[in-house]
Symmetry: C2
Subunit: 471 residues, 2 copies
C-alpha cells in the first residue's frame, strides 16, 4: 500500500453545473431547486460554520432515483452531498466545492415493522421521533436519541448515539443492514435481515459513520426493543464532577443495567433552570433512568441511591411517573438550546470528545480549569456511561479575538482527550471541522488505510468531498 492523498477537489465549472441542472430538471422537474435561499438552507449544520451552499438541491423519492442522480453526477464529476435534516454539528452537509445536495426528506417512509424479529425497515429521511411515534402502538421503540430530531440516514452516517447508548449501544450496534448507492451509482444491500452474520466483510459498519463519503444510504434495517414494562428516572446531585463519575462507574461495574446516566455540570444545571424553570440546586448532577419490570426498576433505583450516598451524592429522587420523567429528559435533550439563555445573542461552536471512563473526571476537571482560566462560558453535559462529553461554548462569532480564544480552547480540549487514550469525537463525527484532529488521533498508516478505501470506492472523489480527510 502506498501513501495516498485525497485529490484536492476542484469546484465544477459553470458549464458543468448548467449541464447537471438541466439533466436533473429534465428528470425530476421542480424537485430540483437552485434558488439561493434553498441552497443556503442546505449549506450549513446546526453549530456555527460559515455557509457553503451547494449548486442545487434535489429531492429523490426512491433508491433508483438516487442511483440515477449519482450516475448523472458521476458522469460530470459533480460533487454529491447527502442531506438528512441538517442537524449534524461539524459541517457535514456544507458544500465547500458546490455540487448537488441530495435531500432525502421525501424518502421518509416506514417500509416494514417485524415485531417478532424486533426490527424495522425505514427510509433514510425518517426522523427518530416520528419513527418512535409510529412504533409506540406495537410496544416497540428505537433507542438511539441524539439531541435533535435527526433523520435515521444522518444518524447512520455520523455513527450517532445519545443518552441511551450505555444500555443499547450506538448506531453501529443497532443497524442490521443498509441499502446504499455507491459513488458509481451502483446499489448495494450490505446484509440480510438475520440478527447476526459472518458472511463476508462488514459493509454495514463501513458505511455507518462514513459521513456520506462512501455512498448515500437509501434504506435501513434497524434493531428495535420492547418498550420496558416500567421506567424509573430521576436526578441526583453530587458534591463534584468526580464524585458523580465515580458513582456512575461503580453502578456500571456492579452490573446494574442502567439505561441512561447523564452528567450536567453546575453551569449546565443553571442553564436548565433558566431555560426550563426546573429550580434545581446548581451543582453537578446525574440524570438517571432504569428500564425493566416494576420490581427490577425499584431495586435498581434503590441500589443506585445507596451507591450515590457512598460517594457523597444524593438524595436520589426518582419517580416512575411518565410526566415527571418526560419533563426532566426534555430539559436534558434541550441542553443545546438551554445554553443560549446563558448569553443571549451568542452563537455556539458545540463539540464533543470521548475518553475511557476512568479518565472522564480528570478530563472534565482539567477542562473546567481551562474554562476558568480562559474566561469563557461553556457548560458541559456528558454521557457518563460512555466517557463522552459535550461542550457548548457561547461565543460572539463576529469577534475574531473571541473566536481565536475558543478555537485554541477546543484545540486543547481535543489534545487533552487524545492524551487520555480518547477520541476527538464520540458521536458528532469529523465533518469539516475535525479533519485536522483525525490526523492527530490516527497514525499516518491508519489514515492512509481509510484513504485507500475511499479512493477504491470513490476514485473521482465526488462523494461529499472536503469531509473527514483534508485534501
Amino acid at each position: 500500500m502506498t501513501a495516498h492523498h485525497s485529490v484536492p477537489f476542484a469546484r465544477p465549472s459553470a458549464e458543468t453545473v448548467a449541464a447537471v441542472t438541466l439533466e436533473l430538471q429534465k428528470r425530476y422537474g421542480n424537485r430540483v431547486v437552485t434558488s439561493l435561499a434553498v441552497r443556503e438552507q442546505h449549506g450549513h449544520t446546526l453549530t456555527w460554520t460559515a455557509n457553503q451552499p451547494p449548486d442545487m438541491v434535489v429531492w429523490p423519492e426512491t433508491t433508483e432515483e438516487v442511483s440515477e442522480i449519482v450516475k448523472v453526477c458521476a458522469a460530470h464529476g459533480m460533487p454529491i452531498i447527502p442531506y438528512g435534516t441538517g442537524t449534524s454539528l461539524e459541517g457535514h452537509v456544507n458544500a465547500p466545492y458546490g455540487g448537488v445536495s441530495v435531500d432525502t426528506s421525501r424518502m421518509n417512509g416506514l417500509v416494514a415493522v417485524h415485531p417478532e424479529d424486533l426490527d424495522c425497515v425505514v427510509q433514510p429521511g425518517m426522523t427518530r421521533k416520528t419513527l418512535n411515534e409510529l412504533l409506540r402502538d406495537q410496544g416497540l421503540f428505537f433507542p438511539i436519541d441524539p439531541g435533535a430530531d435527526a433523520s435515521i440516514g444522518g444518524m447512520v452516517s455520523t455513527r450517532a448515539s445519545g443518552t441511551n447508548a450505555v444500555r443499547y449501544g450506538t448506531m453501529k450496534d443497532n443497524v442490521v443492514s443498509l441499502t446504499a448507492v455507491l459513488p458509481s451509482g451502483e446499489i448495494v444491500k450490505t446484509a440480510s435481515r438475520a440478527k447476526k452474520s459472518s458472511a463476508g466483510y462488514d459493509l454495514t459498519r463501513l458505511l455507518v459513520g462514513a459521513e456520506g463519503t462512501l455512498g448515500i444510504i437509501t434504506e435501513i434495517t434497524l434493531k428495535l426493543y420492547g418498550i420496558p414494562e416500567a421506567i424509573s428516572g430521576g436526578i441526583c446531585p453530587f458534591p463534584s464532577v468526580r464524585a458523580a463519575c465515580d458513582a456512575a462507574i461503580m453502578t456500571i461495574q456492579t452490573g446494574i443495567p442502567i439505561a441512561r446516566v447523564e452528567l450536567a455540570d453546575a453551569l449546565q444545571v443553571k442553564a436548565f433552570n433558566l431555560h426550563a424553570k426546573l429550580g434545581l440546586p446548581e451543582t453537578p448532577m446525574l440524570f438517571i433512568e432504569f428500564h425493566g419490570s416494576e420490581e427490577s426498576v425499584k431495586e435498581q433505583s434503590t441500589r443506585f441511591g445507596e451507591i450515590a450516598d457512598e460517594f457523597g451524592g444524593g438524595p436520589f429522587e426518582w419517580t416512575t411517573k411518565p410526566e415527571d420523567r418526560t419533563k426532566l429528559w426534555q430539559a436534558r435533550h434541550d441542553a443545546y438550546w438551554s445554553c443560549f439563555t446563558l448569553r443571549p445573542g451568542a452563537k455556539t461552536v458545540a463539540t464533543d470528545v470521548c475518553v475511557p471512563l476512568s479518565r472522564l473526571a480528570d478530563c472534565v476537571e482539567e477542562t473546567h480549569r481551562d474554562i476558568a482560566e480562559t474566561g469563557i462560558i461553556s457548560p458541559i453535559v456528558g454521557h457518563v456511561g460512555d466517557g463522552n462529553f459535550h461542550l457548548t461554548p457561547m461565543v460572539d462569532i463576529e469577534n475574531p479575538e473571541e473566536m481565536r480564544v475558543i478555537e485554541e480552547f477546543l484545540d486543547r480540549l481535543v489534545k487533552r482527550a487524545l492524551a487520555m487514550e480518547g477520541t476527538c469525537t464520540g458521536e458528532h463525527g469529523v465533518g469539516q471541522k475535525k479533519m485536522k484532529y483525525l490526523e492527530l488521533e490516527h497514525s499516518a498508516a491508519t489514515l492512509d488505510t481509510m484513504r485507500v478505501i475511499k479512493r477504491a470506492l470513490d476514485p473521482q472523489g465526488i462523494m461529499n468531498p472536503g469531509k473527514i480527510f483534508r485534501g
Copy 2:
C-alpha cells in the same frame, strides 16, 4: 467502480519457498518449522476438510515480528495464513496455495486490564478460557463463547459469537480497538480505547470477520463485563421446536434480559444423554440462563417459567448453584463432541445458518423434514435469541455417495435460510467452504464492493488467499 475478480492465485515456486524459508530462518531460527507433521497440523480446521498444508509455520512473538514476516512474504508474493488455534469450521486456516502459516500461539499475553473502563488488551493467541481465568479475581469476564477454546484473534477474524450473544452481542460488538499488520507489512491501530467514537471509517469492524484476508490481528482491546452477582439457569422441555422458539421470542419481546437461550432438538438431547449421562427426556429443550441480582434472576426465572407454560413447555427447573449450572453448560458446549456418540467412527461437516427470529421454527422444522427424508443423522442446536442454528451431520467421509447426499442437504439448508431473509453463516464464517454461498447471499454489486476493498488493501492477494472469495 468496475467489476473485479480475484486473481487466481498461483502456488509459489520451489525457489520462492526456499528463499522465504531461508530468510525467515535467518531471523527466527527454530521458530520456523517445515516438517510435514507440523505443516499438516496447521492445514485443516476442526470440521472435516481435506488437509492443505502450508509450506512452513512461523511463530512470531511481537507485532513487529509479524510485520517483518509479512514484509518478507510480500516481497516474494508468498501467501500468508494467520493461525490461532485451528478450531474454526470452514477451512479458514487451510493453505490451498501453500505459503507461510503465521501461528500466533506465542503471542498470548494479557497486556493490560482496566477494571474501571471495563476493558482489557490481549494478544491474539490468548484463548477465551484462559482470559476468563485471568479475569475472574477482578470480578470481570469476557462473554463471547464459541464452543471451542478459540484464540481471541481467531474469534475476531471469524466474527465469532456463541451462547451469550443474545445478551452481550458478538465479537463485532465487543472489540473496542485492534492493532493489525496489513498485507503491506504496515502496522495500524484502528481506534483509541474510548468506548465509542465517530472519528473516521470503522476499520475495527472491517477487520472483525475479515478472516485474515485483510491483515493479521496482533493486539485486541476487548469490552469486559462485571461477573453478575447472581446467575440462575436451567432447562425446560417443550412439546415441539416451534413451541420452544415461540416461548423464546415472547421472552425477548417482553424485555426479560435473558443471557442465554439455547435450543437442542430431541436428537441433540439424546447425544447429550449419551455423552454426559444427563438423563434428560428426549424432547426439544431450551437451556436458559439469567444474569443479575439475586432478586432479579429469581424474578426473571419465574416469569420465563410462566411464559414456557403458556406455550405448553415446562416444568422449567432452574438453580443458582454453580455446580449444577456448570454441568448443564458443559454439556451444551460439548454439543459438537457429543454428536460423535450417535455414530461412532463417523466424522462431521458441521455448519451453521441464521434467519430472522420469526422464521427460526419454520427453518428448523423444514430442515427436520429434510433430515427425515434424506435419512441422515444430524442433531440441531440453536442460539434461539439470534435465530442462529448449527447442524452436525455425522458422516462417513470415505463414502462418496454419503458425502454427495450430505453436500446436497447442506446446499438445501443454506438456500432455505437465504429464502427466509437469512444468512449462509451466523458465526462460523465463509472460509473455503461457503464461498459459493456468499455469492448466493449477496448481489454481484455487493460482492464486488468487498472485492474492491480486498484488492485495494491487498493488491497482490497474498493474505489468506482462497478464502471468502472464489478466484
